[in-house]
C-alpha cells in the first residue's frame, strides 16, 4: 500500500454504477461541475454516484492535500529565489486538477507526468527531497519510478503520452486490471506525439487516460494558438470519448478521473479529460507572465481559486473548524520545513557520477573517459572533496 506524506492510504477502490463504458461525450461548453465557484454543491444525475463515498473526513483530507501542495509550491519558489533551486515550475492554481486526479488512482496504476505534476508526486508518495533534487540540479531523476508507479518528470512536451500508451499496451498484453494515466498541458495537444498517442490508444483500445490540464498558457502562447475548438472536442475525432471538467473543482475532477480509470480497467479503452484550470503563476521561475498576460484575466481566475472554492464548501457544511484549520496549517508548515531542510542538506553528487548509468553494461568509450578524468582529478595530489568541482 502506498501512503502519502500523512501516512494514510492514498488509493481507494473506485465506486460507481458499473456502467462507466457508456460515458456521455461532454463536448463544447458542457463543463462538468459539482461545486460552484461560490462553494455550492451542484447535483449531477450521472456523476454524483462517482463521489458518493467522499464524506466529511475525505473532503477535509482533499483540502489538506491541496493546501499542502500550494505550500510546497510557495516554499520551492522561495528556495529558487534564494538560489537553493536552479528552477521551479509552479503549479499555483492547479491544485484541484492534480489532487482530484491523483487521489483517484490506485497503487497499481501507472502514471506518466510532465514536469509540473509535483502535487501528483507528493500524493504518489515521493519524498520531498526526491521532488526537489531534480530542480536543484543534483540528479536528473527524483524518485524510483518503479517504487511509486510514477515515471520521472518529462520535459519534452507530450512525449510521455506515447510512453503511457505503450505501457497501457503492455498492461493489455499482461491481461492486467490496471489503468495508466498521462498528464500533459494544453500546449502539448499541438505536438505530434500526443496526436500519435491518441491514434495508437484508439487503435489498440489501450487502457490509458489522457489527463490534459488546460491551464490556458504554454509559456506565452495562449490556448487559442493551440486550437480553434475546445480541446475536449479533439479526441472524439480519434474515436476517444472525452470529458470537459472544471479543473478547479476537485470533486468534478475526481468524478471524471474515476469514470475514466474505471473504464480503462474494465477494457473500455482510452478516455480524454480536459481539466479546465489556470496557471496563476509563471511557467517557471525563469518566466515573466506580466509581459504577455492581462492582469484582469488573472483576477477573474483568482476568483475561481480551487482552494478557496473548497474552503467555501467546507464552511457551508460546517467542517472548517479551528481544529481542522490548525491541523492543516501545521501539516503544511511541517512539509515546507522538511522540503527546505532536505533541499539545503542534500549532498552534492560526486564528480565521477557524471559517467554512471549511461548504459546498463560497460561501454569502453565512457570507461576510458572516466579513467582519464579520474587521473586528471587525482593529478591535483589530493582526494577530490565532495562538491569541490
Amino acid at each position: 500500500m502506498l501512503t502519502d506524506q500523512a501516512g494514510k492510504g492514498v488509493h481507494r477502490d473506485t465506486p460507481g454504477p458499473g456502467h462507466s463504458a457508456q460515458i456521455p461525450l461532454r463536448t463544447g461548453g458542457d463543463l462538468l461541475q459539482l461545486v460552484s465557484p461560490e462553494g455550492e454543491r451542484i447535483s449531477h444525475p450521472e456523476f454524483d454516484i462517482w463521489v458518493k463515498d467522499i464524506g466529511d473526513e475525505h473532503l477535509c483530507s482533499l483540502y489538506e492535500d491541496m493546501t499542502v501542495i500550494r505550500r510546497i509550491d510557495a516554499e520551492a519558489t522561495a528556495l529558487q529565489r534564494q538560489g537553493e533551486l536552479a528552477l521551479w515550475p509552479p503549479l499555483l492554481g492547479q491544485e484541484a486538477a492534480q489532487i482530484g486526479s491523483s487521489r483517484s488512482l490506485r497503487d497499481d496504476d501507472f502514471v506518466f507526468p510532465s514536469y509540473r505534476e509535483s502535487g501528483v508526486a507528493y500524493v504518489r508518495g515521493a519524498h520531498l527531497s526526491e521532488i526537489a533534487r531534480v530542480w536543484r540540479g543534483n540528479a536528473s531523476y527524483g524518485w524510483d519510478p518503479l517504487r511509486i508507479n510514477l515515471a520521472t518528470p518529462q520535459i519534452i512536451i507530450g512525449s510521455q503520452s506515447l510512453h503511457a500508451t505503450g505501457y497501457a499496451m503492455g498492461v493489455q498484453l499482461d491481461g492486467a486490471n490496471t489503468a495508466v494515466l498521462a498528464y500533459f498541458g494544453d500546449g502539448a495537444t499541438s505536438e505530434g506525439d500526443v496526436n500519435e498517442a491518441m491514434v495508437f490508444a484508439a487503435s489498440y483500445q489501450a487502457p490509458v487516460v489522457f489527463f490534459c490540464q488546460n491551464n490556458h498558457w504554454a509559456i506565452s502562447e495562449p490556448v487559442r494558438v493551440q486550437s480553434h475548438v475546445q480541446l475536449a472536442d479533439r479526441p472524439t475525432g480519434f474515436g476517444i470519448p472525452s470529458m470537459r471538467v472544471d479543473g478547479n473543482d476537485v470533486l468534478a475532477v475526481m468524478a471524471a478521473t474515476r469514470v475514466a480509470l474505471d473504464r480503462a480497467r474494465k477494457g473500455g479503452g482510452p478516455t480524454f479529460i480536459e481539466a479546465v484550470t489556470y496557471r496563476m503563476g509563471p511557467h517557471t521561475t525563469a518566466d515573466d507572465p506580466t509581459r504577455y498576460r492581462d492582469p484582469i484575466e488573472l483576477e477573474d481566475w483568482a476568483a475561481k481559486d480551487p482552494i478557496l472554492r473548497l474552503r467555501k464548501l467546507l464552511q457551508a457544511k460546517g467542517l472548517l473548524t479551528d481544529d481542522v484549520e490548525a491541523r492543516v496549517k501545521s501539516k503544511a508548515d511541517a512539509v515546507a520545513a522538511e522540503l527546505r531542510s532536505s533541499c539545503i542538506d542534500m549532498p552534492d553528487p560526486q564528480p565521477l557520477d557524471v559517467f554512471n548509468h549511461v548504459y546498463s553494461t560497460p561501454n569502453s568509450w565512457i570507461e576510458r573517459q572516466k579513467d582519464h578524468y579520474s587521473r586528471y582529478l587525482n593529478s591535483f595530489g589530493q582526494p577530490v572533496e565532495e562538491g569541490a568541482l
Binding site: F110, F112, A139, S140, Y141, D144, P145, L146, A151, T152, I156, S159, S161, L162, H163, A164, T165, G166, Y167, A168, M169, G170, V171, L173, D174, V180, G192, D193, E196, A197, V199, F200, S203, N356, H357, V358, Y359, S360, T361, N363, S364, W365, I366
Partner: protein, 336 residues
C-alpha cells in the same frame, strides 16, 4: 549449417528470440501479414499472433514512443523502421527518451529496445530510401549502434541486440538482403563474438581497411584485388559503430601503420572522421601516413542514376589504399 539469405537469417534470429522470451514483441508498419516490405518478418505474425507481432499505425514517433512504455512495463520491443529515411520523425523519441531513460533514472528503468533499420543505397530507390543516418545515433550517448554485414552475424547479432539491456540500433544493409551465406542456427549466443566486438575478416600487413554493413563485401573484394598487385590489406568489419572496438583497430594499425576507412554516409562529421581522430590520438607514432576516408559525398543522397558515383566502390577504395601507401593515386601532386 544452412544457406540463408540475409533477410531469412534475420527472420530466423527474430523467430528464435520470440520463442525464447515471451517478453519479446515486434512492432512496425506492415510487419504482420505482409511480413514487412523486405519480408524480414515473413510468417512471424502467423506463428506468434497479433499480440506478439504488432502491425502498427503509420507513425514512427508512435512506434518508438510506445516501445518506451512497453519497456517500462518489462517488455523487450523490437521496432522496425521501414526505411532509413523514415527514422527522423522518431528521432526525438530515440535520442531524448530511449537513449536517456537509463541515465535519467540512474539505472532504475532499462530500455531493452531494438530498432531495426534497413539502411544504405544501391537499390535504385527514390529519395528517403537509401540513407545512412548512423552518425546521428553514434553521437548519442546511451545508444548502442551496430551494422551487420553477413547472414551469420545478422542471425546472431539480432538475438544479441534483443537480449541486450541497452537500446540497440540495428542497421541492416538492404542491398545485401538477398545475398546468401552459411548460417549455423545451432550457434549459441554465449560462444558468439560479443555484440560490441569488431572482426578481422581478412588478415593483411600493409594497410588496415575498416568497413561496416554493405561495404564489408566491397572492402573484401578490394583487398583481393589489391593482393593481385602485391598489397596486403587487412579488412576489419567494425560491426559495432557505438562503441567502436578500438583495441582491435589499434592492434591492426600498429601492425600496418596505415588506415583507410570507408562508409556510404557523408564524410563530414561521419564515423570515419571519429575513427581517424581517435586512431591518430591512440596510434600517432605508429602511423606512416594520414588516415584516409573513402565515403559518400557531402550531398543529399542522389537520385538513383547517380548513386553509383556517390557510393564508394572497389576502385575508389583501392585509390584510397594507394593514397595511404603513398603510391600514385588520383590526388597525386595535390597539396593539402
Amino acid at each position: 549449417m544452412s544457406k540463408l539469405t540475409f533477410a531469412r537469417a534475420i527472420n530466423a534470429g527474430l523467430r528464435k528470440s520470440l520463442e525464447n522470451d515471451p517478453k519479446v514483441v515486434l512492432m512496425g508498419e506492415d510487419i504482420g501479414s505482409l511480413g514487412g516490405v523486405f519480408r524480414v518478418t515473413d510468417g512471424l505474425q502467423k506463428d506468434f499472433g497479433k499480440h506478439r507481432v504488432i502491425d502498427s499505425p503509420l507513425a514512427e514517433s508512435g512506434i518508438i514512443g510506445t516501445a518506451v512504455g512497453l519497456a517500462y512495463r518489462g517488455y523487450r520491443p523490437v521496432c522496425e523502421i521501414q526505411f532509413d529515411g523514415f527514422i527522423y520523425p522518431a528521432f526525438d523519441q530515440i535520442v531524448s527518451q530511449v537513449a536517456k531513460m537509463h541515465y535519467r533514472t540512474q539505472g532504475r528503468v532499462k530500455m531493452p529496445i531494438t530498432i531495426r533499420v534497413p539502411f544504405g543505397g544501391g537499390i535504385g530507390s527514390p529519395e528517403h530510401h537509401s540513407e545512412s543516418p548512423e552518425a546521428y545515433f553514434t553521437h548519442t550517448s546511451g545508444l548502442r549502434v551496430v551494422a551487420v554485414s553477413n547472414p551469420q552475424d545478422a542471425y546472431t547479432m539480432i538475438q544479441q541486440a534483443i537480449a541486450s539491456d541497452d537500446p540497440v540500433l540495428y542497421f541492416e544493409p538492404k542491398r545485401r538482403y538477398h545475398d546468401k551465406g552459411d548460417v549455423d542456427e545451432t550457434f549459441s549466443l554465449s560462444e558468439a563474438l560479443p555484440l560490441d566486438k569488431a572482426a578481422v575478416v581478412s588478415a593483411g600487413s600493409d594497410v588496415t581497411l575498416i568497413a561496416y554493413g554493405p561495404l564489408v563485401k566491397t572492402a573484401r573484394d578490394a583487398a583481393m584485388a589489391a593482393a593481385d598487385e602485391g598489397i596486403s590489406v587487412e579488412v576489419i568489419d567494425l560491426r559495432s559503430l557505438a562503441p567502436v572496438d578500438y583495441p582491435v583497430v589499434e592492434a591492426s594499425v600498429r601492425k600496418t601503420g596505415r588506415l583507410v576507412i570507408t562508409h556510404e554516409a557523408a564524410q563530414s562529421g561521419g564515423l570515419g572522421a571519429e575513427i581517424a581522430a581517435s586512431i591518430t590520438e591512440r596510434c600517432f607514432h605508429y602511423l606512416e601516413s594520414a588516415p584516409v576516408r573513402i565515403t559518400g559525398f557531402d550531398v543529399p543522397y542522389p537520385y538513383s542514376k547517380l548513386e553509383m558515383h556517390h557510393l564508394p566502390d572497389l576502385d575508389r577504395i583501392l585509390d584510397g589504399v594507394d593514397r595511404a601507401l603513398g603510391r600514385p593515386n588520383s590526388l597525386s601532386g595535390l597539396e593539402g
